[in-house]
Symmetry: D3
């Protein structure tokens, strides 16, 4: 049995609190069970140097974990003088996922940076970050539309993510005790229509078969549909 | 008039939420009005190399600000590869203040690190950090006592801090709009008995007189008494 | 048509030169068309601190690109003082892929580090690196067996990787002109038996459908089979 | 008794050698007993980016200690790749103190950087640095006036600093053997008129009372008056 | 006897492979026996900031060693976050040597950067780097002339380098087993006419006499003549 | 004519002040005309890790320049986060020169670090550093002998350095105005007996001939003899 008697295709209780902080153009505290990530979207009327003059926007993301988001304290990256490989890999994934649902041409020369800071980590921080960041970014774009700086919201759909194989069984939205025992860990980012933006599956123990991959993708699609419901409900408030 | 009609010797509404995160030995979300700081105390049964074998403990602190804790986004220190001078100065102040109320000999070879991460900044993050860190540290020590690892809580009292001169007027617990217009900015850390641990006053515009210093210290003492009430109430829950 | 009239499921001419340098325990220059990567495996009778005393080995990898491996010169990472996010992401992928085919318990307390340095980049440097690194690592293990330090080669099979969608068409082993125009870029790492170790697909333009994913996986499996032939032939020499 | 039979309110013999080096616009070797600090003021007709076009000047400071300024060798900060927290805290204090006595508007878009490098450290390097830097800066401004680049010297007064509690006794201008045994360490920066610019008191052992603070401030005022005499004498030469 | 029965004034077999990589404006794999260095010259129509607007060009160089170019693996400089002192010293020597044979005024505002990356190290990597870099740079200039961007090749001659004292005997072009036993290690950079550009002799054991220096210079001149023959032959192909 | 009517083979007035600072085991302020370098030798009863247990000592050196040692201010290396290439090159030269005159076996497992910090730079800081460092090191060894930690001073002789070609004329001990106009800049480190430890000549404009090299070496030998007189006189005091 899974912790809390969850079904294999069931995501944890998800909560999205919009306007969590006061200054960011979009600010969402997203909770997937005990995993809590603060996603703040910042707008800058400026783009990176290599994009200047091309009439196009840019979306990027940064990821961090508070030193005591985990069971034991991790060294603060600012103190050690560099971001680790895991941090870099994750923030690149978040950024790619967000850019995949935005019409960069329609943005004009504007940049959105979404900071995803993990307050508490109980597995699935990538999934939670992408889901929360998507809502924070939607809020930021909405403000630009309201201010007359954009004609329409350039987001083409909502993104989202999640799955894994634990003890031979495909499961959706792993929490930490499952994740640390998983044979395969997989992140799937899909549009609302079920098209894929990113698929990242890693066998940590035994390699996985084609059948297992199919099972995981089906679980991911179910989980993502549930997460998108929460995103929509949050944005509708 | 001050914002929200506050009296000059009145601190903002203060809230301390204990056990805010699940893993840290002590975890407090402290709010001074719109300033919100998460203070997590971590215990390690180990001391820095230079203290090894001396039978003494150590208390240290680290401070950080989420990139969008402020009106405009600041560069993430982990990404820029170093902690700035302001960060270093503040975390040294927090650490000194905490050590001043702990009997390090009584701790044994244990180290407590308190991470103060600013979620939202509206002035007074030093004060809020020290006040919240003190409660988080108290919780961590309490757990060590409960686990039989310490005979008694080695904290000798509660610490706390605050004050400034704005438009020629001494005021307690400045918020951002006041702070940015202040002539003098002052942090005072006192014990419950009114003894001073740290006094840091800086004239940002006009130098201040002896009389003004006396006025500020009186305001600080009043504010600190109020803050200590909140700390005690939080710990009594 | 693809450059050089390649069929969609056809990999570029692949060449693996073993013992390319004289000192490394395994040294392979791998060429996938114009992409050239030097893979050197180094053996150290030691493991990282966190593995000490567990009787287990470790495999890791580092990736670099010579400044002028590409059309225009990139800044040397040693001079800029840090490895970029792309470098970190790739070397983590290579290391995970290699560890997936090694029985770490059977290695004993030995560490293998494979350095993959790109001499010339024409797309597919990840694929080429993993394929070459696998052969270099096999050579290193073979030397340890010959020296009586290992009873048997702890590699459980050969690993390998590759695919993308260009102009709506699935293609195997993209070269640079295809890669830079690809809608989807995908890296697949499989065992000889067709089990998956890593699947990393990224939509760079349009999201991809389930059907397209299936097509890409089939192309990858075909390509990987061809690459494994080359690996085996190289090791048989 | 204090070392060398000093009275509690007596500063050590102070010596200021102007024009100590040949190139700096202001160059002072300041000695407080065995503490020796070289203070060089450099003028640049340029301001930091964030001040450009505002018609205002800027004053900043950097602090360093030669590796063997102390009893045992400290690691060179340039070699370790960053300035430590203590260094940062001190150079920020020096810079704030200097800016407090300069009319930045009157400077025009000019920047003065004062480098304080400790040649030999016997306690009180902050005090000595601020005192020496003030004279070096005065010389630099004087040269700008002489060259017709400033109408008048924009310094509004002389700054200076000092005090501590050792064995329950307030003392002025602690030297190293006193400093390392002090219960409270305090730096006070005042104008010639006795107005305060910076007050930084830290209880290193026992917290200090209001009465002790008053005593320390009185000692500081006496010491500062003596130091200002030396500054004036030096500038009068 | 020397390894491979070399005469004291005999250089190892030297091979220069031009156009070794496809993208660099000049690309030479240079081999001195088992020492192999890849030298890539990159052209940029731009100069460093401090040279802008002076109508003059610049030549610079960077040096690196692949981690397993040597008998045991060295830490990757990009991973350790800085270039070591030896690397810096060598790349400055290469750059000075190259600039010494180029008419920088005649180049116009163009910059050439030569990257020398050691694939395999068996002594003499400085010599090999300078010799190979000289040919790679010649190719790059030739392309600029062919493209009509330069009127004539601004190189004034060919540069080159080499020598040492081993067991009291002067020897030309030391390989690793000789180098590690050498009493004196010397690098000489000369023009074709025998004029000196750089002389760097270091006594690693016993100091060397004036006579020994004369002997070493004579050996160097002989070796350099031989190397220049190879350079010319390579460029004539 | 040279500045101050110096003869071509004449060194500037040299002054060595021993015991310049109070704590270092050897401390010398060396002045070559207006060039002033503080050389502090520190003794540590410990050796670098790679030398441990070999019963041998080690000598190393670090070099720095105060930000305003020169006509215009240079950025502080500690603030920029790394030592520049020039600094690295020079400190490696100083260290090699010092090691060349010490019997490392006779030292036992002791390390001497000499810090050379340039207070004022008017050309020839390498020469001055090596000359001063040699005397500082001699003092440090003398103290170890006096304390019974060494049987005898392990220095085998005095080292020293200097020369250049300006306007076609060989000159000894260039000062800044000569150095910046020099065609060739050369550093020679010799023992008292005239044996060479290091020869570093660089053509900055025109290459130099064999005859010019001979002339420079003769000038260097004359200059070094004069410098050694000063070193001996200083040590005799």
């Amino acid at each position: 049995m899974r912790p809390n008697d969850r079904a294999v295709d069931q995501v944890r209780p998800i909560k999205m609190t919009r306007n969590y902080t006061a200054y960011a153009e979009g600010s969402v505290l997203v909770e997937f069970g005990n995993t809590k990530v603060l996603c703040n979207a910042s707008v800058e009327e400026n783009v990176p140097r290599w994009l200047k003059g091309k009439g196009k926007g840019w979306v990027t993301a940064e990821y961090g974990m508070l030193p005591r988001a985990t069971h034991t304290r991790n060294r603060r990256e600012a103190a050690s003088g560099k971001q680790g490989g895991r941090t870099m890999e994750i923030q690149r994934l978040i950024a790619r996922s967000l850019r995949a649902v935005v019409d960069l041409e329609a943005m004009g020369e504007i940049m959105v940076t979404v900071d995803c800071d993990v307050i508490q980590a109980d597995g699935g921080t990538r999934t939670a970050s992408i889901s929360g960041a998507s809502v924070a970014m939607a809020d930021a774009f909405q403000k630009l539309v309201a201010a007359g700086k954009l004609k329409a919201n350039p987001m083409k759909g909502h993104v989202s993510a999640s799955v894994g194989i634990v003890e031979g069984e495909g499961r959706c939205d792993l929490e930490y005790v499952e994740d640390s025992a998983a044979d395969t860990d997989m992140n799937v980012v899909m549009t609302e229509e079920g098209k894929m933006i990113e698929v990242q599956g890693t066998a940590e123990g035994e390699p996985f078969s084609h059948e297992e991959l199919m099972e995981l993708l089906a679980l991911a699609q179910k989980g993502i549909a549930d997460i998108i419901e929460v995103q929509k409900a949050a944005l509708a408030e």
